[in-house]
C-alpha cells in the first residue's frame, strides 16, 4: 500500500547508521551503473536479496514495486529492441543469428545476451534501493544525506517529502473518492484521455491542500530557527560502529572487485563472452 514503508525492526541492517547504508547503496549502485557484466550483477543480486532477507523485508510488501519495475522492464526491453535491434552485435563485435522475426528484425545471441544482462543490471539495483528506503529512519535519512555533502536544507526537504508522502496518499484517495461520488469516472470503463482529465481534476484540490501544508510547516520550522545558520547539528545522527565498518568493507570490497574485473579482466565496461580471445 505504501511505497516508503519504514518500520523499525531489530535487525543487523536496521541497526546500521543511515550514513553507512547510504554509502553502501551509492557504491554498489554506482558500480552496477558503470559496468556491464552479468556475472557481477548476479553476485550483487544474490547479495542484495540476502540482505533483504536479513532485514526481514517481506517480498509480499513489495508487490507494487515489483509490478512497476516489471512493467518497466518489459516496456524497456521491447522498445530497446525496436529502436536498436543490433546494439548487442555492435557492442560485442560479432553477429550470431538465433532466429529471424520480421523484416530487418532478427534476434541474435548477442542482442539477447545484452538485453538479459540489462534486466539483471536493473534487478540488482532495485533491492538495494528498497533496503535503503525500508530500513532507514527518515530523520536519519536527512542527516545521512547531509553527511555526504548534500546541503541540509535540501536533505530536510527530501526527508519531509518522504515523511508526508503517506498523508498525501491518503488525502489523494479521499479527494478522489469524493470526486467519484460526484460522478467522476476514473475506472477503466472510460477512455484513457477521459481518465487522464478526470485524474487531473482530482489533482487540483490536492495541490492546493499540499501548498497549505507546506506553508504551515515552513512557518513552524522558521519559528524554531530553521535556516538560521549555514550548518546544523543532528540529534539522531549515529556514530559509526563496528557493524558499520563491516558493512562498508563488504560493499566496498564487492565494488573494488567489480572494478578490478572490469579494468583487468574484461578490459572495458562490457563482459564479452563472444570475443574470440
Amino acid at each position: 500500500m505504501n511505497l516508503f514503508n519504514y518500520s523499525y525492526e531489530d535487525t543487523f541492517v536496521h541497526r546500521l547508521s543511515g550514513l553507512s547504508k547510504l554509502l553502501c547503496f551509492m557504491a554498489l549502485t554506482g558500480v552496477v551503473m558503470y559496468i556491464y557484466d552479468i556475472r557481477i550483477f548476479l553476485i550483487i543480486l544474490i547479495f542484495s536479496f540476502s540482505v533483504m532477507k536479513a532485514a526481514r523485508i517481506r517480498i509480499r510488501d513489495l508487490k507494487i514495486i515489483f509490478i512497476y519495475v516489471g512493467t518497466f522492464f518489459i516496456i524497456n526491453a521491447v522498445l530497446s529492441f525496436i529502436f536498436a535491434p543490433n546494439f548487442g552485435p555492435e557492442t560485442y563485435g560479432s553477429y550470431t543469428l538465433w532466429f529471424p522475426i520480421v523484416g530487418k528484425y532478427n534476434m541474435t545471441y548477442e542482442q539477447a545476451f545484452y538485453q538479459i544482462s540489462k534486466i539483471f543490471k536493473y534487478s540488482s539495483v532495485v533491492p538495494l534501493g528498497v533496503i535503503f528506503l525500508f530500513t532507514t529512519d527518515p530523520s536519519e535519512f536527512a542527516s545521512s544525506l547531509n553527511a555526504v555533502f548534500v546541503p541540509y536544507k535540501i536533505s530536510y526537504a527530501v526527508s519531509l517529502t518522504l515523511r508526508h508522502f503517506p498523508d498525501i496518499q491518503k488525502e489523494y484517495s479521499d479527494i478522489s473518492k469524493a470526486q467519484q461520488a460526484r460522478g467522476l469516472d476514473i475506472s477503466r470503463k472510460t477512455s484513457f484521455w477521459h481518465r487522464f482529465k478526470n485524474a487531473a481534476a482530482t489533482m487540483i484540490p490536492l495541490i492546493f491542500s499540499s501548498l497549505d501544508r507546506i506553508d504551515v510547516i515552513t512557518n513552524a520550522m522558521h519559528l524554531r530557527g530553521f535556516s538560521k545558520h549555514k550548518t546544523r547539528t543532528w540529534y539522531s545522527r549515529r556514530k559509526l560502529k563496528k557493524e558499520d565498518f563491516i558493512a562498508l568493507s563488504v560493499s566496498f570490497g564487492i565494488t573494488a572487485a567489480a572494478i578490478y574485473t572490469a579494468v583487468f579482466i574484461n578490459h572495458g565496461r562490457f563482459y564479452n563472452p563472444f570475443s574470440p580471445g
Partner: protein
C-alpha cells in the same frame, strides 16, 4: 504594576501588501512580565495577525506596511528578525500535526537546538529535562504522529520550552482538539505558566512566571483556568481590555460575534442581571447564591416539549464490520437506524471509527452485503457514484472538494458528469443556488468567496444530485461563533426541506444545540445512541468519547436541579424558541 512591559504595542498598525485596508489599526497594548493574557476576536478580526507580528512571521513570511512600534523585551520587533524573536517568544501554532518536523518525539523537541548547532550530547540531556517537565519522557522514541491529541500538544510545547523563552504564544491551541484534550491543554498551559524555569532554583517564583499569551475564540474552554486579562479585538482594533469577570458581565463578547460560556447564556435566559461582582469569569468563581431561585423559577416555567419523529427509516446499518488489515478491526458490529428528516451527530475520539463509518455508507471503502440499506433496500451492489444520488458526503475542508474555478461550473459538475441535458442543468443549479443563498454569486469565480461561502458551494455541489441524506465531516471546524451559526442555520434550512443530516463532530455546542440525537462511537463500536443532552450529562460516556460536561450540567447541579438532562433539554427548547421568534 510599576514594572516595565515585556511587550509594548505603541500606535501599531499593519497592512498586508495584498490588502487595501489595514488588518491592525492603532493598537496600544502593554503586557507585563508574568502576565497571562487571552486575546479573543471573531475570524478576520486581526487576532492571528497580532500573533504573527509578535513571533516575527510578519515581516519574515508575510510582508506589509508597519506603522507605530512594537517592542518585545526591549528590542524593536521589526528590526529583530524571526530568529532573534524566536529566542524570546516561543509559538505553539494550531494543528500540531502539520508542524511536527522530527520523526521521533525526542528529535522534534531537539529541532530548535539542532538549528543552533548545539552538540549532540548537550541536546540529549536538555531534551530529557524538558520532556520530564511536560511529561513525555516515556514517549521520546515514538513518532509524533502516533501520539494522542494531548501528547501531541505536550510535544509541541516541549519543542519551544527547550529554548527557555520569556514569552509563550499559543495561536488557537484548541482548534483541532477534542473537548477533553482541550481541557487538559488549558491545564497544561496553566501549569507551565506557573512553572519555574529549568535549572533555575531561585526562590522568587512569582517573578519567574512565563508571560503567556493565548489567542483563541473558544472562550469558555480557555476560562477553565484563570487568565489575568482578556483582550477583545474586532476589525483590527482593541475593543475591550478587561479581566474575565468584567468581560463576561459586559456583554461585549456577543456584540462582537463571539460565544459566551453557556452558563452565562442560561443565566441571562433566566433573567439574571450579570454583574462583575458575581465573579462570573469562571464557573468555579461565580457566586450563584443570589440567583438560584431565578434559575429554578425559569426552569419550571419552560414548557416541556415532545418531539415528533418520522417513522420512515431512510438509512439502516446492520451488523457492519470493517477492517483495513486482517485482524485489526476498525468497526465492529455496527447497528444503527436513521429516520427521515433527522439531524444527528456521530461523536467519538480521533480514530474511533466515525469517519470510516461515514465512508462505508458512501462506499468509499468496500463492505459486505446485507449491511447497508437505503430506504430498506440493500445497496451492496451500488457503486460510489450510484450511492451519491442518495447520500452525499461533504468533506471537512472545502478546498479538498473544489475542482472548478467558476461557482456555476462547480455546482453543475455532478450533473454534467451524469450527462444531464444542459437546459435542465441550468434550472437545477438555479434552484440549488437559491436554496443555498448563493444566487447573486452565480457568475462569480470561487476564489472571490470566503471560507464559509466556499463551504456552501461544496454543499450546493452535493445537493444538486438531490440526495436524501447528507453526511458532513466537521462542518464548522475552525469557525467562530458567527460563521458557525451561519453554517448551522443553513444546514437546518436544508434539513427542514426534508434532507436527513448526519454530522461527524467534536463540537459539543453543535451536538447540543443542533442535533437532538448523538451516536457515540468508541473503539470501533457504538457505545451509546441517545439524546445529545443525555450524552453530555453522563460522566462515563463523556470520558469514553473524550467529551466534556457542559457547564449547563454543573449549573443544574449548582442550583439543585435533580435531573440535569431535563435542565439541558429545557435550555435547548427555550433557545430554539428564541431562534424561531427571530426568524
Amino acid at each position: 504594576m510599576g514594572k516595565t512591559p515585556i511587550i509594548e504595542f505603541d500606535n501599531f498598525s499593519f497592512k498586508y501588501f495584498a490588502q487595501s485596508r489595514p488588518t491592525l489599526r492603532n493598537i496600544n497594548l502593554r503586557i507585563y512580565p508574568g502576565e497571562k493574557i487571552l486575546i479573543v476576536g471573531p475570524s478576520g478580526s486581526g487576532k492571528s495577525t497580532m500573533g504573527n507580528c509578535l513571533n516575527g512571521l510578519i515581516p519574515f513570511s508575510y510582508n506589509g506596511e508597519i506603522e507605530g512600534s512594537l517592542t518585545i523585551n526591549g528590542t524593536v520587533a521589526k528590526d529583530a528578525g524571526i530568529f532573534e524573536l524566536s529566542k524570546i517568544i516561543g509559538t505553539v501554532m494550531q494543528d500540531s500535526d502539520a508542524q511536527f518536523v522530527g520523526l521521533s518525539v525526542a528529535e522534534d523537541i531537539a529541532f530548535s537546538m539542532e538549528n543552533d548547532c548545539v552538540p549532540q550530547e548537550n541536546m540529549i540531556s536538555r531534551v530529557n529535562d524538558v520532556a520530564g517537565l511536560v511529561g513525555v519522557q516515556k514517549l521520546l522514541r515514538q513518532s509524533p504522529h502516533e501520539l494522542s491529541g494531548g501528547q501531541k500538544q505536550r510535544t509541541s510545547l516541549a519543542g519551544i520550552l527547550v529554548d527557555d523563552v520569556e514569552i509563550l504564544l499559543f495561536d488557537e491551541p484548541l482548534a483541532n482538539l477534542d473537548p477533553e484534550t482541550g481541557k487538559y491543554a488549558i491545564e497544561l498551559i496553566d501549569r507551565i505558566h506557573h512553572e519555574k524555569r529549568i535549572g533555575d532554583d531561585d526562590s522568587d517564583a512569582d517573578n519567574k512566571r512565563k508571560t503567556t499569551i493565548i489567542i483563541e475564540h473558544r472562550i469558555e474552554d480557555v476560562l477553565h483556568r484563570e487568565v489575568d486579562r482578556i483582550i477583545l479585538i474586532d476589525e483590527g482594533r482593541i475593543v475591550a481590555d478587561l479581566n474575565a469577570h468584567e468581560m463576561l458581565s459586559s456583554g461585549h463578547l456577543l456584540e462582537h460575534g463571539l460565544r459566551e460560556p453557556l452558563y452565562i447564556t442560561a443565566l441571562k435566559y433566566a433573567g439574571v442581571n450579570i454583574t462583575a461582582g458575581m465573579k462570573p469569569g469562571y464557573f468555579s468563581t461565580t457566586d450563584f447564591s443570589d440567583v438560584k431561585n431565578h434559575v429554578l423559577h425559569w426552569y419550571e416555567s419552560v414548557p416541556v416539549k415532545t418531539h415528533a419523529e418520522s417513522e420512515n427509516e431512510v438509512l439502516r446499518i446492520s451488523n457492519l464490520d470493517f477492517e483495513y488489515f486482517r485482524g485489526q478491526p476498525v468497526l465492529r458490529n455496527i447497528n444503527m437506524s436513521v429516520k427521515e428528516g433527522e439531524m444527528l451527530s456521530i461523536v467519538g475520539t480521533n480514530g474511533a471509527g466515525k469517519s470510516t463509518l461515514a465512508k462505508l455508507i458512501c462506499r468509499f471503502e468496500n463492505h459486505s452485503p446485507e449491511t447497508v440499506y437505503f430506504n430498506g433496500k440493500d445497496v451492496f451492489d451500488q457503486s460510489i457514484s450510484e450511492r451519491a444520488s442518495f447520500v452525499g458526503y461533504v468533506m471537512q475542508n472545502p478546498n479538498q472538494m473544489i475542482t472548478q474555478t467558476q461557482i456555476y461550473d462547480e455546482i453543475a459538475s455532478g450533473l454534467r458528469l451524469r450527462k444531464v441535458p444542459s437546459n435542465e442543468i441550468e434550472a437545477r443549479v438555479d434552484r440549488v443556488l437559491d436554496i443555498c443563498g448563493l444566487s447573486r454569486f452565480k457568475k462569480w469565480p470561487i476564489s472571490a468567496l470566503s471560507y464559509g461561502q466556499k463551504k456552501r458551494v461544496t454543499i450546493a455541489s452535493i445537493l444538486i444530485l438531490d440526495p436524501r441524506v447528507l453526511i458532513l465531516d466537521e462542518p464548522t471546524a475552525g469557525q467562530d461563533y458567527r460563521h458557525y451559526t451561519d453554517i448551522m442555520q443553513f444546514l437546518e434550512r436544508i434539513n427542514s426541506l426534508g434532507v436527513t443530516i448526519i454530522m461527524i463532530t467534536h463540537d459539543m455546542h453543535l451536538m447540543l444545540e443542533y442535533t437532538r440525537r448523538s451516536v457515540v462511537v468508541h473503539d470501533g463500536m457504538i457505545v451509546r445512541d441517545t439524546d445529545s443532552s443525555e450524552v453530555l450529562t453522563e460522566p462515563e460516556i463523556i470520558s469514553m468519547a473524550s467529551l466534556k460536561e457542559t457547564s449547563l450540567f454543573h449549573l443544574a447541579n449548582e442550583v439543585g436541579i435533580e435531573n440535569p438532562k431535563n435542565f439541558v433539554d429545557r435550555f435547548l427548547d427555550y433557545e430554539a424558541g428564541l431562534k424561531n421568534e427571530s426568524i
